[in-house]
């Protein structure tokens, strides 16, 4: 059984179908990239899967459990981690506190009024930070981090509670070339080690074809191609979408 199964997902905004009957699966331990030109529906699709938007119709099944339309809070507790296109961290906290909060909220212990946060979940938080080479920055305020480190911290937050599925919207946007490869290698290692399914969108084709096990191509809200990176790369429909009129003209 697949870890994530998406069936016939639809979402329109004012009559315009942003996601128009999308279906696919992600297996445990698999890295699946979603690509497509701007406006293809990638972000809408992600926001539906992450619970930020409710779909008009369709089904999302996580490990056999229907999770369609659940709110982000509930999805997190069911094991869905999320990073955003523009890294979103808790700006007024330290690096360690960010991860501590992620762990506490997952266990519904973020309502506690009887303990200080300082010592809660500290060891688990530090283990996550060590894994992503952020331990040296544990006591730094987020505000002082370089953007690449903020991106890594966001990943640390997202994987802190050992999710089963990780949704990453443009994980390497805004990062330097070297940082990109390192981050994605880290994600790939995590996916293999802990059978974590990863679904990510990306504009950088080196990242896509270097790290994805499978690639899904969206165009005008529909899946137009899906399969192994090489097969997708050579698919004429995909080439047409990406190269557009120029390719058509060249062929004519």
């Amino acid at each position: 059984m697949s870890l994530l199964e998406v069936r016939d997902l639809r979402k329109s905004f004012g009559g315009v179908a942003a996601v128009d009957g999308v279906g696919f699966t992600v297996a445990a331990g698999e890295m699946v990239a979603v690509i497509g030109p701007n406006g293809a529906g990638k972000s809408t699709c992600f926001n539906v899967l992450g619970g930020q938007l409710r779909p008009d119709s369709g089904e999302v099944v996580l490990d056999g459990l229907p999770v369609t339309g659940l709110r982000p809070e509930a999805l997190w507790r069911l094991g869905v981690g999320r990073t955003f296109q523009v890294a979103s961290v808790l700006g007024s906290m330290t690096v360690r506190e960010n991860v501590q909060m992620a762990l506490l909220a997952a266990n519904r212990r973020s309502w506690s009024l009887t303990r200080r946060l300082r010592n809660e979940e500290r060891r688990r938080a530090d283990a996550v930070l060590r894994r992503l080479a952020l331990l040296g920055l544990a006591d730094s305020a987020c505000a002082t981090l370089a953007y690449g480190d903020v991106k890594r911290l966001e990943l640390a937050i997202a994987i802190a509670n050992r999710p089963r599925l990780l949704l990453m919207d443009e994980p390497t946007a805004g990062m330097s070339r070297g940082d990109r490869g390192a981050l994605m290698a880290e994600v790939a290692a995590l996916a293999r080690e802990s059978a974590l399914g990863v679904l990510f969108t990306e504009h950088d084709m080196d990242v896509v074809f270097g790290h994805a096990d499978r690639v899904l191509v969206l165009h005008q809200g529909r899946v137009v191609a899906a399969g192994a990176p090489d097969a997708v790369r050579n698919d004429p429909r995909v080439r047409a979408i990406y190269l557009g009129a120029a390719a058509e003209a060249g062929r004519a």
């Binding site: 523009v86 909060m101 973020s110």
Partner: protein, 614 residues
Amino acid sequence: MSFILAQFLTGLASASSLFLVASGLSVIFGVTRIVNFAHGSLSMLGTYLAVTLVPLFGVGSVLGFWGGVLAAALCVGVFGGLLEVAILRRLYGSFELFPLLATFGVVLVVQDATLALWGPTDILGPLAPGLDGTSEVFGLAIPQYDLVLIALGPLVLGFMLLLLRRTRWGVLVRAATEDREMLGALGVNQKLLFTSVFVVGAFLAGLGGAVQIPREPANLLMDLNIIAEAFVVVVVGGLGSLTGAYLAAVLIGEIQAFGIVLFPEITLVIVFLVMAVVLAVRPWGLLGRPEPVADSTLPAGAVVLRPMGKVGRLAVAAAVATLAALAWLAGPYYQQVASEILVFALFAASLQFVTGVGGIITFGHAAYFGLGAYGAALMVRHAGLPMEFALLAAPAAGGIGALLFGWFSVRLGGAYLAMLTLAFAQILWSAASQWYAVTGGDNGILGVWPSPWASDPATFFLVVLVVCVAGLAGLRWTAHTPFGYALRAGRDSPRRSAAIGIDVGTRRWAGFALGGVFAGLAGGLYAFLKGSVFPGVLAIPTSVDGLVMVLLGGIQSLTGPWIGAAVFVGLKTLLASATDYWRIILGTVIILAVTGFPQGIAGTLADWTRREGR
């Protein structure tokens, strides 16, 4: 039957004036995203200018009356334009608290300026010539002027809708309201547009005030009464919808017209209940569209919370010890001043918890302080319970009030929140000053004395000290717990918080209620400190005092409110004894503080938003 029709028409007439004011507020907010707290003051200025100008233009003549009314409205329009150019222009896009505070500074300045220019007594305006009689409508004698007002509302609504649909200016206003990026793309002179919108909005407010002169004498309470009503109208109608504002104005006008006859003492409670029902069914108002809860700009200097260092702890211990020593060393007067500072420090700290830690910008925090004070006073005077019980009832009253009002306001962000919190506080204030049977109205509740064992001034001072220090420590502790962190997480980034399992809406509600508990405790102490409670404890100036204390101490600082309260209470004690016009000084200080260093604060904010990328 005839009674119903007569009241109905009176309600329609009031609705028109209310609509004029509210429509200006709505248009200004739509374009500039500024909630203009001074809008009620603009309307009050319209009334005062009209009672002055109409006699100058000629009392007896039709031209003189309407010329005077129009001239008054135009003057207010120009004044509104000046406000925009001089003050508000500097504040677009800054931390949302600043424009609110700046316009509140204007409220204070206008209040004292009006007092200085026109004096404290109410001024009756002239009647409209030719319209001072009654006309027969369905066999009823209806004041002719009311009929004119009834027509005026729909006329202005139609005119505004035409203006918005058919003119280039209207297109720009709609573009700015609905899609700000498009406005930039149109290559518009935004400065001119924003100023003109303020002129039009202020003109409408002035007109709404000016046409009231035959019906209501000009008085100094108009500004806050009108602004609270206008907020209710705008929120019930739906922010940005003029038609919605008219419908809501009719609704509120009718409730008041019938309520004043049927339930004179609880008219405002009915207004509140109707508003509650509308908002429970349609959170965005009758005709409003859902707006995504805006990601609020992070307050200035949103810094990492660190445990207090050794030096800090020693300083606190020394301060508490020094204060405790006052019980033996100082006389009753200084103990009274010190008690007042402590009580306000607790109040300010509870507000800092809500606003600074939770990022919930409230303009009605005094409501919970006042609920605590009245709760305690009622326990002692009506239920005959001793101080110990009353001091338990006070935080409960504050907490329950915050829980109730918070449900409506805290779920919604930004502008709705600011307007609703203020409206709630004003409604409570009105209820407290009208409901003589329970609250004693303006006469207040007297004889709220401590239990015999604590009645000695020095002992009572120690009670205040212990309770306040415990309260302050409790708030500080809460900020350091996972609960406090999760509240702050919701402020930092609602999106990230939700993605790690924090339900931001519920959390904000809980944080708001907890702030209400501590504010209520402070209010309870205040009642015993003064031995009496008056409606002023609930009034909007008390809320703003709290905000100023928080800002003085630094909005992010947990210790700040202590210092802010000490400085503020000290200064106010000095000022109030030195001059009657302390409001104008306070108002000017607020305006200068907010506009004077926009770079310092806005610069920090810009850094933050850049990092957050939003």
